[in-house]
């Protein structure tokens, strides 16, 4: 299989889908400038630059989706989604329901986020949880070039609005990507490494951090299973529960802040549906509840690191059942 970067994989998926379906089009601030190859192949009507106005970019996508087109919009950096929340949440997310099913909104909204480029808090804010919390939307945040391609294909073909997040740190990471059809269904997690002592659940760049941690743990005789959620909504609850039923221990890892994040959702799911399997507390390793700093060492400290994961996993496997008495907690 050819090696492609994440950015190339996304580009390939978009080009292939545009070839397959003439209703697919893409626009955004600088989209045409940055993709002359798409303009050359599909023409200026289907590959457009827009004025600098995220609200109307997303709104235009929603209106077009409701009336027969299948738009992809590039909204650049996740914090800019703040200017498009009404269009994404109140319109694209709700109007199918509010119309009693008369209209659907097949559209994809792309945004980059995540630490690693020291771009600071107005360009880097991991907002995926907002959209998981909002009805009618789907949310994707892959970790490998092949998944970026396959999930982009799935997102474009889906009849619903899909938020598609690109972790900046992954954009230039190369990996094997199938040519042509690479479809990865929305809503399916992937077991990246099998294990039996502890489950590490993650998505985006921190999947790789989890894999690194799992290596270290393996050297110490701790067998960690690494689950890559890939799609955050719909969440693959079966895969999460299956793994925790096996290992009895859970660490959830993401760069987004903890409060009401995806890790909270996964932890709550497990505390409800796999409680009987749990041998130890559920741990979240996340970015701090602070704006993303720009300064390089601060930004590195912001991103969950492998040693925090291994330390947490070690603590969990050391927990002895039956559980300690209430008084023993801090």
């Amino acid at each position: 299989m050819p090696l492609l970067t994440v950015n190339e994989a996304i580009g390939q998926a978009i080009a292939e889908e545009m070839r397959r379906d003439s209703r697919v089009l893409i626009f955004g601030e600088g989209t045409a400038t940055k993709h002359p190859e798409l303009v050359a192949e599909f023409g200026a009507a289907r590959v457009r630059n827009t004025p600098l106005a995220e609200g109307i970019i997303a709104g235009t996508a929603a209106g077009a989706a409701a009336t027969g087109l299948r738009p992809i919009v590039d909204l650049l950096f996740a914090p800019f989604l703040c200017f498009a929340m009404d269009e994404l949440v109140n319109s694209a997310g709700k109007l199918r329901y509010m119309s009693g099913g008369q209209f659907s909104f097949p559209m994809v909204a792309l945004a980059m986020t995540g630490g690693g480029w020291t771009v600071g808090a107005q360009h880097n804010h991991n907002l995926e949880a907002w959209f998981v919390h909002s009805p009618g939307l789907k949310v994707v945040m892959p970790s490998t070039p092949a998944d970026f391609k396959g999930l982009m294909q799935a997102a474009i073909r889906d009849e619903n609005p899909v938020l598609f997040f690109v972790d900046l740190a992954l954009a230039f990471v190369p990996g094997e990507v199938p040519e042509g059809e690479a479809f990865v269904p929305l809503g399916q997690a992937a077991v990246r490494r099998e294990g039996s002592d502890v489950t590490l659940v993650s998505y985006a760049k921190t999947v790789h951090t989890c894999l690194q941690a799992a290596e270290t743990l393996a050297e110490e005789g701790v067998s960690a299973e690494v689950l890559d959620l890939r799609t955050l909504k719909p969440l693959d609850t079966a895969a999460i529960l299956r793994s925790v039923w096996k290992t009895g221990r859970l660490v959830v890892v993401h760069e987004a802040s903890a409060p009401c994040g995806v890790g909270a959702e996964v932890a709550a799911l497990v505390a409800a549906e796999a409680f009987a399997a749990l041998k130890a507390p559920v741990v979240r390793i996340t970015g701090p509840d602070a704006p993303a700093p720009s300064s390089y060492p601060l930004e590195q400290a912001f991103i969950p690191q492998a040693d925090a994961i291994t330390a947490a996993a070690r603590r969990l496997v050391a927990v002895d059942l039956p559980v300690s008495a209430p008084g023993s907690a801090g």
Partner: protein, 320 residues
């Protein structure tokens, strides 16, 4: 898609206005009878709705705002299914899920009634893009208020429609009020139309209480948008004769302002004109009014007798 209709003559315009008024009066009557969902009535603005919608073709689409009964009825919507929606019944246009103020009706080309002020402006460009890219000569009519023209999305929508050459007929019903705030507190100048020039968009202001003038201006505007494939802004100057919503409250409005505008009521005006011209006899008029009332009595009976949705509907239609 609604059936093609011959260009409506002045009587048809009156008939449509009477139906809209009868609908709003039925809402008011419901409110007087007891608790009923909030509704924003368009009493006093019927000419803008009837005049513009009557100028559209069947291939055209509509997006509108919370004060949309007139646009829907002029487009041929069934007042029974509209009332059913307001009352949350399964027979409503949206199965009762959206309720008052949010009716969409795909078969009529009514894509959206947005109660997010400005929501119609944000989706209209996309609908027009579809019209352009999927072929045909359809255009999109987007109704919004003077208040919506304060939202940033107004600016973004007009600018995009202009640089992308999208066939949107923007229709601003400037009814002087924005919920509890008078327009004069929210903008300098008296009109929205002059703002269009900033985007290179042509605009016209019309007396929104003169249904024939509105129809004429709208017919010209529709033809222009259809042939140029460019946006156009039509501002209809009119007045919201009642409170922002039912139950009615106008305690914060200058009574002299209300009185002055009531004297310019669009329906009274069209009645007088047709009677004057001899295009209508008092008997004709009585018949028309009676038909409108009967239609609404039937509609109300239908809606009231309709069942509520099954609780299982709570979570259907979320995803396609």
């Amino acid at each position: 898609m609604p059936p093609t209709r011959p260009l409506p003559p002045s009587r048809l315009l009156l008939e449509r206005m009477l139906l809209i008024r009868a609908y709003e009066e039925k809402i008011i009557a419901f409110h007087e009878a007891g608790p009923f969902p909030h509704v924003c009535t368009s009493v006093g603005q019927e000419a803008a709705a009837a005049g513009v919608v009557s100028a559209l073709g069947p291939q055209d689409q509509i997006l509108t705002n919370h004060r949309s009964a007139g646009h829907l009825l002029a487009r041929g919507a069934d007042p029974g299914r509209m009332l059913a929606e307001v009352m949350g019944r399964i027979t409503g246009y949206c199965k009762g899920k959206s309720g008052t103020l949010h009716i969409s009706a795909r078969e009529l080309g009514v894509i959206l009634t947005s109660t997010i002020v400005g929501g119609e402006l944000s989706l209209a460009t996309g609908a027009a893009l579809s019209r352009e890219m999927l072929g045909g000569d359809g255009i999109v009519a987007c109704f919004f208020g003077d208040g919506a023209a304060c939202e940033g999305i107004f600016h973004e929508s007009l600018n995009l429609a202009s640089v992308w050459n999208l066939p949107v007929l923007y229709v601003c019903e400037n009814n002087q009020w924005q919920a509890f705030v008078h327009r004069k507190e929210t903008m300098l100048g008296d009109h929205i139309a002059p703002r269009a020039a900033a985007y290179g968009i042509e605009a016209v202001t019309v007396d929104g209480n003169d249904v024939e003038a509105v129809f004429e201006a709208a017919t010209a505007a529709v033809a222009k948008v259809r042939s140029t494939r460019r946006p156009f802004l039509l501002e209809a100057t009119t007045y919201r004769q009642r409170g922002h919503m039912e139950p009615h409250d106008q305690s914060y409005v200058d009574p002299a302002e209300i009185a002055a505008w009531r004297a310019k009521d669009p329906i009274d005006r069209q009645k007088a004109r047709l009677l004057d011209r001899g295009d209508l006899t008092p008997d004709d008029l009585a018949g028309m009014e009676a038909r409108a009332r009967t239609a609404l009595d039937d509609a109300a009976a239908f809606a009231s007798a309709s069942p509520f949705p099954d609780p299982a509907e709570l979570t259907t239609d979320v995803y396609a």
